[in-house]
Amino acid sequence: MIELRNVAYSYGGAELFSDLSLVLGPGSFHFLTGPSGAGKTTLLKLCYGELTASSGEVLLFGADARAMDRDMVALARQRIGVVHQDCQFLDHLPLAENVALPLTVAGRKGDAAQDLADLLGWVGLTAQAGQLPPQLSGGERQRAALARAVIMSPDVILADEPTGNIDWEMSQRLLTLLIELNRMGKAVLVATHDLNLIRAAKAQVQARVLRLRGGRLQSAGVDL
């Protein structure tokens, strides 16, 4: 679904990484680790077309991202759910409208009211549906971001430090949600520093752990 072939990315003349290849196929589960500044977030942004590779190929659902115009990238993003560490909500809209935003943008709001209610129940945020994002706790915001990422039933879920601001119990809950989605056939890529989260995941699901370091992507064991 998303494939990176010999990708390099440079910023301000400095090469962040090069010769990087990765395939996110249906039902795959990847963790991406590495030191801060190694380029994990950049790699995720390449995967959803926010950035363009300096060289190499990024294929989004079979199409070369470099050849895609902004409308095509937007349509591809409707098949990719993204969870940011800082969540990124529209602070003037209630939580329910934020979660439903991908449906609204895609013009599918009308027939998805029940889906929205079910999803809010699934992430445990039914009671907070009418609250504005600034009124929510960090964990609630992370769960809401995950709910928004999956409401379109995307093929791929990309999560950037989804447990960065929440406690262990909430991290476990988020991990459970991601594993559940992966079992539905979604490709999942999680960028994280949290080794405990990776260990917990590997106990439950066949996950591949990748390490981005020194501009190279390597497979790594759980004992990183």
């Binding site: 937007a74 591809a76 409707q78």
Partner: protein
Amino acid sequence: MRVRAGNTLGMALSLVAGDKQADRAVPPTGFTAQLTVFAAGAMAFLAVFALALSLATGRLADRWAAELARTSTLRISAPADQMAAQTQAALRLLQTTPGVAEARALTADEQRDLLEPWFGPDLPVETLPIPQLIEIVETGEGYDAIGLRARLQAEVPGALLDDHTRWREPLVAAAGRLRVLGWLAIGLIAAATAAMITLAAQAALSANAQVIRVLRLVGARDVYIARAFVRRFTLRALSGAAVGTVAGMLAVLLLPDADVAGGFLTGLGFSGWHWVLPLLIPPLAALVAFAATRAAALRSLKEQS
């Protein structure tokens, strides 16, 4: 080109239909919204006056041209003992000239009245070597000025025909220039409105960079994001211009009547079906706002990507 026109038309139609959800995606901006409405209203108010000026000068030019074109003057400069004979000869000639409806020698009193503004009321016209003036009123078709001059030269050597061309042309040209200035003012007002709305739209787009980032993250296309801004600014311009136009029309309506005051400026206004023309200002302002905001939004979104 056709696809682009189709996109613009589609956007215009969806603009009319509206999209409540897309509108809600962009947070409301109270103060800048009021400024946009005010600016559109002020510009529409000025546009009403520019339009009134343009139409009034057009009417004035037509009236001057028509009035001056229908009359001309024959001036007879002859020694005192030949003045009466040449005047009579000229009148006889004019009576037989096709295109001349009426010819009449001005009386001494009338000639004194003409000179009074320059020489005062007690001018002894009879004792001064003042030319005799004959007023000629033309028929609708008019006369052949070249032919008449030739006949006058032969039969009335002291006659000089003034068909008012010298007067008419600069007056009509001046009125025409005023009319052009009026339309130029309307054009400048439209351009200034577009510039102000572009600046306001750019400011709104910059202020909502985070909103745009989020919308893009969830797969919003540029036209979807632009639509919320375009609709908002178009409706603001429409409502502001509607208020400004109504205020401008009321102000024009309340200007002193031309017949009472008699001056040029008091003739500023609309007459007949021309009262419909200012009503086109609000939709035109909305059109300008639509085009300006759409261009600004799409350019800004392209730069931000």
